[in-house]
C-alpha cells in the first residue's frame, strides 16, 4: 500500500518541476532576446485600477458575512468526515447503525435550519 503512496510522492516532484520549468523558461527568454526586457516605468509598475491611480490602501475591509459562511463550512465539513467512515462500513452496522446515521444527519439538518432561521444565509439584513 505504501508502495502506491511513494508513487504519488514522485509525482509531487514532477508536478513541482512542470510549472517551475514553464516560469523559468519564460524568465530565461528575456536574456536570449526572445522576450522584451522589462524597463522600469512608474505607470506600468502601478497596480491596475481601470486606468486611474489607486486611492488608499488596497487591502480593504470586506463583508463580515463571509465569516458566517466560513463558520458554517467548518461545521459541515467536519461532520462529513464522520459520515464517510459510516458509509464505508454500511453493510456491517445494520439497522442500528442506519438509525444512528440518520439521527446524525437529522441533527445536521436542524443546524442548517437554525442558521436559516437566524438569517445567517442572507446577504441583506
Amino acid at each position: 500500500m505504501l508502495y502506491e503512496y511513494g508513487h504519488i510522492g514522485i509525482l509531487v516532484i514532477i508536478a513541482l518541476v512542470f510549472p517551475l520549468g514553464a516560469l523559468v523558461t519564460s524568465w530565461a527568454f528575456q536574456y536570449v532576446k526572445i522576450r522584451p526586457t522589462s524597463q522600469p516605468d512608474p505607470v506600468r509598475d502601478d497596480i491596475y485600477e481601470c486606468g486611474l491611480r489607486t486611492e488608499g490602501p488596497s487591502l480593504v475591509q470586506f463583508n463580515f458575512r463571509y465569516y458566517y459562511i466560513a463558520l458554517l463550512f467548518v461545521l459541515f465539513d467536519v461532520e462529513v468526515i464522520f459520515l464517510f467512515p459510516w458509509a464505508r462500513v454500511f453493510d456491517k452496522v445494520g439497522w442500528q447503525g442506519y438509525f444512528e446515521g440518520m439521527a446524525f444527519i437529522g441533527i445536521l439538518s436542524l443546524g442548517i435550519l437554525y442558521a436559516w432561521r437566524k438569517r445567517a444565509l442572507e446577504w441583506k439584513l
Binding site: 503512496y5 523558461t25 522576450r35 522589462s38 487591502l59 462500513v89 453493510d91 442548517i112
Partner: protein, 432 residues
C-alpha cells in the same frame, strides 16, 4: 491489496487493450538489470508519461483550448479559432508560445514571492488529481484504497492558491475576487461532498465475486458498476446533478464565474497576472475541469466499463470518451447560461443544494439497507434506479416550489419580435 484484478485482455505486451501490459514488460526487463530503487522510480515515470501523453495533454490542448473555443464560438454564432494551421488546429501551440514570450509584469507594491508561488501551488494539485483516476482495469497510477477522499482533499487545495494570488497582488479587485472565490468554493464544497457520500453509500460493502468492495477506492466503484450492470448515475441521478453544479461553481466555469466577472471586478484574482504566470492559471483551469470530468466519469458513469463492450474496445478509450462527453457538458453550460449574482449563488448552495443532498443521503441509505437485507438481489437495484429517478425529479421540483419557484406565474417571453407585436415600420405613427 484485496482489490480483485480482472484480466480482460491477454498479457502480451502488444495487446493495446490494456496498456499496463507494456509497462509490465518494460519493468520486468528492468528488474533483471537495475536495482529496486531505480525500477520503483521508473514505474512512476512510466505511469506519469503514459497517463499524461495518452490522456491529459492531448485532451487539455485539443479539447480544452481548441475544442472549447471552437464549440463556444459555434454556440455564439461565430467561427472560433480558424487562422493558425488547418481549421485553426495549431492555435493551442501558438497560444503557448505567445504566453511564454510575453512580458511578465509584476506590480511594484505586490508581494512578489507569494505572487510567483501561487501559480505553482495552483498547478500541483491539477497534476496530482490524475494519480488515482483508473484509466483501465490495471491502468491506475497509484491504486490508493482511499482514492475518493484523496481526490476530494487534493481538489480543494487550489482555493488556497487562488486566495494567495488575490491577496498578494495588492489590488482591490484581486482581493474581492479572492474573497468571492473562497466563499463560493467552501459553500459548494459541502453539497459536493454530501452528493459523493450518496455514491459511496451505494457502492461500499457490496459483494464483488465473493469479496466485498471498499467503496472509497475509485477502482471499486467501477467494479461495482461492472458487477451489477448499472452505472451509479442511474441509482444516484440527484447526486450527479448536484456534483455537476458544485464542480462548475468550484472551478469558476462561466455560469458561476463571479470570482473573475469582467463586468464587475476586472479579472478578479487574475487582474495583476500576465505572461506565463497567467498562462499557468488558465491552462490548469482546464486541467481541473478535465480532472473533475474524469472523476465524474469514474464515479457516476461507470469508468472504463460499458456493459461488456470493454472486452472488445480498449477500456481506456471508453473512459476517454466518457470524460470528454462530461466535459462537453461544462462547455455547453458555459456557452449557454448567463452569469449569476454572488448572493444568489450562496443562497443556492445552502438553501437548495444542501437540503437536497441531505435528502439524497437519506433516500439512498434507506434503499441500501433494504438491498442488503434482501442479500444484494441483482434485480432490486434496477427498481431502485427507477424509483430514484422519479423521486429525484419530484424532490427538485417540490423543493423549488417550496422556495418560491412558480413557473406558471413567470410571464412567457415571446420567442420572436413579431409575437411581441414587434416590427414597426420606419416612419409609421408608432415610431414617432
Amino acid at each position: 491489496m484485496s482489490i480483485p484484478v480482472l484480466a480482460l485482455a491477454t498479457d502480451h505486451w502488444y495487446d493495446l487493450r490494456d496498456l499496463a501490459n507494456i509497462s509490465d514488460a518494460i519493468l520486468d526487463g528492468a528488474d533483471k538489470v537495475l536495482p529496486f530503487g531505480i525500477v520503483y522510480v521508473l514505474a512512476a515515470l512510466i505511469g506519469f508519461v503514459a497517463s499524461f501523453l495518452i490522456f491529459v495533454l492531448p485532451s487539455q490542448l485539443y479539447l480544452g483550448v481548441y475544442g472549447e473555443r471552437k464549440i463556444i464560438g459555434r454556440i455564439q454564432s461565430r467561427y472560433g479559432p480558424n487562422r493558425v494551421g488547418p481549421f485553426g488546429l495549431l492555435q493551442p501551440i501558438a497560444d503557448a508560445v505567445k504566453l511564454l514570450t510575453k512580458e511578465a509584469l509584476t506590480p511594484k507594491e505586490s508581494d512578489r514571492a507569494v505572487m510567483y508561488v501561487a501559480p505553482i501551488i495552483f498547478v500541483m494539485p491539477a497534476v496530482l488529481i490524475f494519480a488515482v483516476i483508473p484509466f483501465g482495469p490495471r491502468m491506475v497510477f497509484a491504486n490508493v484504497p482511499v482514492s475518493l477522499l484523496y481526490f476530494m482533499a487534493i481538489s480543494s487545495l487550489p482555493v488556497i492558491a487562488t486566495f494567495m494570488a488575490g491577496w498578494s497582488a495588492n489590488n482591490k479587485y484581486s482581493l474581492f475576487g479572492a474573497m468571492r472565490i473562497v466563499a463560493m468554493a467552501i459553500s459548494y464544497e459541502v453539497p459536493l461532498v454530501m452528493a459523493l457520500l450518496g455514491a459511496v453509500v451505494v457502492t461500499s460493502g457490496a459483494p464483488y465475486a465473493g469479496d466485498f468492495l471498499n467503496g472509497l477506492a475509485l477502482q471499486d466503484m467501477v467494479l461495482w458498476s461492472r458487477e451489477f450492470h448499472i452505472w451509479v448515475v442511474f441509482v444516484q441521478p440527484l447526486a450527479l446533478v448536484i456534483y455537476f453544479i458544485c464542480v462548475s461553481a468550484e472551478l469558476n466555469r462561466t455560469p458561476t464565474d463571479i470570482a473573475e466577472a469582467e463586468s464587475e471586478i476586472v479579472a478578479g484574482y487574475l487582474t495583476e497576472y500576465s505572461g506565463m504566470k497567467w498562462g499557468l492559471f488558465y491552462g490548469m483551469d482546464i486541467g481541473y475541469a478535465l480532472g473533475a470530468s474524469a472523476f465524474a466519469a469514474t464515479v457516476f458513469l461507470g469508468g472504463w466499463t460499458f456493459f461488456g463492450l470493454e472486452k472488445w474496445v480498449p477500456p481506456w478509450m471508453i473512459f476517454i470518451g466518457k470524460t470528454h462527453l462530461f466535459y462537453f457538458l461544462f462547455i455547453w453550460t458555459r456557452g449557454t447560461l448567463p452569469r449569476l449574482r454572488s448572493d444568489q449563488l450562496m443562497a443556492f448552495a445552502w438553501k437548495f443544494l444542501l437540503p437536497l443532498a441531505l435528502f439524497n443521503i437519506f433516500l439512498v441509505a434507506t434503499e441500501r439497507m433494504i438491498w442488503s437485507s434482501q442479500d444484494y438481489a441483482k434485480g432490486l437495484i434496477y427498481v431502485f434506479a427507477v424509483v430514484n429517478i422519479a423521486v429525484s425529479i419530484a424532490a427538485v421540483y417540490g423543493w423549488a416550489r417550496f422556495l418560491g419557484y412558480r413557473p406558471e406565474n413567470t410571464p412567457v417571453r415571446p420567442r420572436l419580435v413579431k409575437n411581441a407585436g414587434g416590427y414597426i415600420p420606419v416612419g409609421s405613427e408608432a415610431n414617432r
